[in-house]
Symmetry: C3
Subunit: 360 residues, 3 copies
Amino acid sequence: MRSFINVEDIGPLDKALAEAFEIKNDRFKYQHLGKNKTLMMIFFNNSLRTRLSTQKAAMNLGMNVIVLDVNAGAWKLETERGVIMDGDKSEHLLEAIPVMGCYCDLIGVRSFAGLTDREYDYAETVLNQFIKYSGRPVFAMETATVHPLQAFADLITIEEYWRTIENSELRIENYDMPKCGNEANGQGVQGNRNSQLPIHNSQFKRPKVVLTWAPHCRALPQAVPNSFAQWMRAADVDFVITHPEGYELDPKFVGDARVEYDQRKAFEGADFIYAKNWSNPGVTNPADYGKITSKDMSWTVDAEHMSWTNNAKFMHCLPVRRGLIVTDDVIEGPNSIVIPEAANREISCSVVLKRMLEAL
Amino acid sequence: MRSFINVEDIGPLDKALAEAFEIKNDRFKYQHLGKNKTLMMIFFNNSLRTRLSTQKAAMNLGMNVIVLDVNAGAWKLETERGVIMDGDKSEHLLEAIPVMGCYCDLIGVRSFAGLTDREYDYAETVLNQFIKYSGRPVFAMETATVHPLQAFADLITIEEYWRTIENSELRIENYDMPKCGNEANGQGVQGNRNSQLPIHNSQFKRPKVVLTWAPHCRALPQAVPNSFAQWMRAADVDFVITHPEGYELDPKFVGDARVEYDQRKAFEGADFIYAKNWSNPGVTNPADYGKITSKDMSWTVDAEHMSWTNNAKFMHCLPVRRGLIVTDDVIEGPNSIVIPEAANREISCSVVLKRMLEAL
Amino acid sequence: MRSFINVEDIGPLDKALAEAFEIKNDRFKYQHLGKNKTLMMIFFNNSLRTRLSTQKAAMNLGMNVIVLDVNAGAWKLETERGVIMDGDKSEHLLEAIPVMGCYCDLIGVRSFAGLTDREYDYAETVLNQFIKYSGRPVFAMETATVHPLQAFADLITIEEYWRTIENSELRIENYDMPKCGNEANGQGVQGNRNSQLPIHNSQFKRPKVVLTWAPHCRALPQAVPNSFAQWMRAADVDFVITHPEGYELDPKFVGDARVEYDQRKAFEGADFIYAKNWSNPGVTNPADYGKITSKDMSWTVDAEHMSWTNNAKFMHCLPVRRGLIVTDDVIEGPNSIVIPEAANREISCSVVLKRMLEAL
């Protein structure tokens, strides 16, 4: 695997999932692969989960890790040619990026959307410059339009919970659970150590997975819903997206996924509710790109919303603003799986790094 | 050992000291214990000694280390429930802390006292949230009211110097000394490589150890004197505390320790002087909590003060403000052991991490 | 090797170069040397290449690495004695530096010139304090007046390219090249994997190497040209320095090197052009120290400048301001070797750390 940006990069999802559970069962199994290999993590934006889980995954694989925090203000890169660089940009990306590539074997890049220039953001300008000029395999640690490590972790989490819901013999209580997360609110349940479990297959019914927009006080990127939509379309699930009119996600990611503007209808029969805010993607009205065009608080996921579902699990990529995206009782309730979902970030990243190391 | 906060957590002190000298003799002896284990160090406040010595101790034990600097301004955690999080707090601690626990095996937390709300500080709110919600063993890297890694290092240092003072056959000059610190001022002497030394016992007289308040220009927390008092009470020493009236430390830490308001009387016959400033603990007058109610420069430890003692060693946890806490001649003099004391931070932390790893 | 500051510290250059090519051929050959050894990297100033390449080199050698970013504003060290430290300086260097030495085996220091007090800068006050008080071997990661890791990497690069230019049998195209850098512009060529290559010797003619000043919008230190001059004088090359009158470098570094104020004359017949800006060194006029006394844009290295040379390779330590130091076409052209030059920072540092580890 030369790069990890889109769902196609990981190949067949059943194989990727099998590998994920194998690694979850024995996190250090592929430790030899990373010997004398260096991961460089480049952050143009802040990070908690991605920073920690990616470091952990790299260390699981025996890699060395170098973390580079690029304060966008302190280190502005010139991108134009023919410019006299006498301003605040002290280095040209045509030098900076190849140099970073010199000292490592793999590169992870975090670079959020600016949310002002749709074309620039959706061209994934920064990410593509790293792919073009670094000379190294590159993976997205949330970039302008995608967050595939999150979407893969989400898929792992859905698979993990769904097969234990559907097959009583595989009930999650029967496994030896790693202790992790807020056990006080029931979220300690987060996985299993049995790599022999069958991957989700035809013997189970397909889960209904709903991606729902929810209100937020700040303009957020579309990277998470974009990737989630892309991955769910590729997965063996019944996928529905619901959001206020005007918040249509980019067709590149949504494809022919079902969009239901009536949130209640979307929730009916759902097995998994995936809540997320995003700012206006500017698909229907380019002038709205990156703006907050709805603050409709009726979209906040509360107990009543959850009562419309088929006893659905509640998911969110975190961080989450309570009272806007979701109410306390729902996120702390027994059906909330946000902590195990976050824990699976280590697993999705371990699979991705393993694949990239194998392809070096 | 599930957590490391108070002196009781380390068990019998003679055993802990024996382990400390064993590790000082062979720092990498327990390197196998940390294989594939990850320490997460979370800093809500700045750190030099603790940051460096804890990383070093973890690496001695073969652990992986992840350092997370939480700029308190940039990442404010919501702690209340039932709140609509539309302000500057982007994440609730009920999600953030369990997530951090997902990616590591042990957690160290640095979080200073705010010095405005005594009840909040002395409840160790932040530390206890990590203990309650992270799902991982937690140790204090200086929190609101305690700094046990420092106090344990202090005890190791006292033991190390005392037995060589008392027993000429064990004189420190006879040992193969690691080169460390400012040898120019005689502080190069900092320990021994002979793990067979007898632990301080009944054959020696008990050293007189004096904790003395000294003036400072800024309001400082009580964590260091609190833990030092707690550990000295548990140790086999003659312990005296001296400070201006009104600066009484919390009874929880001081217990029935002797308090002497006359600094000169306290210093008489002392074998170790441990200087430290702290702001008013608000014990006698709650309204004074966290304030500077004395700047009495007669408390600064100078050569005359030291002349009252039994040729005492001078100790301080560092950083130290010269001219306020202590004069140049005393801290640079042959009886100053502040550098070996700092060096023992690596040793105390190695013992603590070893114990925590063994208990996983 | 106890410290690494000046060219003499590395010993005979042919041996150092042989070791560099040996390590480039097998970067992990000396990995056993760094086992249980800790490098502390202390940054008083920002760094990209040095930060990354030094970490990589240390990891190549199996070392543990601790990175300490000292924000000069946040952590001011008192250097005077007899002072009452009631201002903004919370720690005295006489404590801070020995403590840092306690937790590591080797120390790298980055500390730029202030460019206001020539005597202070050229006394290498900060670096020498670390040498004197840390109790550890110290190396410069660019200090007030030197950048020897850069100069050594420059020498390696010149040697590498020169022998392949001069000896067609050793042409660089014949080697198995590591992929690195911006291959799109031909800079992918950056070294060879054949450690049996003869080191530059009498069978080749000596290359003409020209250090040329070029204009810049900000006042920059003299560390890079100082060290480059020092190393080129020690190397087997025909070395010429060119700059506007008044920009004479310090005699301590330049010695009897040829200075040619006519840039065109200097460039004639050159095999390597090494461009760099530096602020006025204050040699001819002390009042000019650290100032910009020329912004003469005719010194910018463009295609016409390069046409005066013997098809010279273009070098720069990076970061570089295009349009001031060099034009786009030159730095992106086939003769630019700035990326392979940066890649050799890992190699020069690996040799230095290897030598320091061997001498522990």
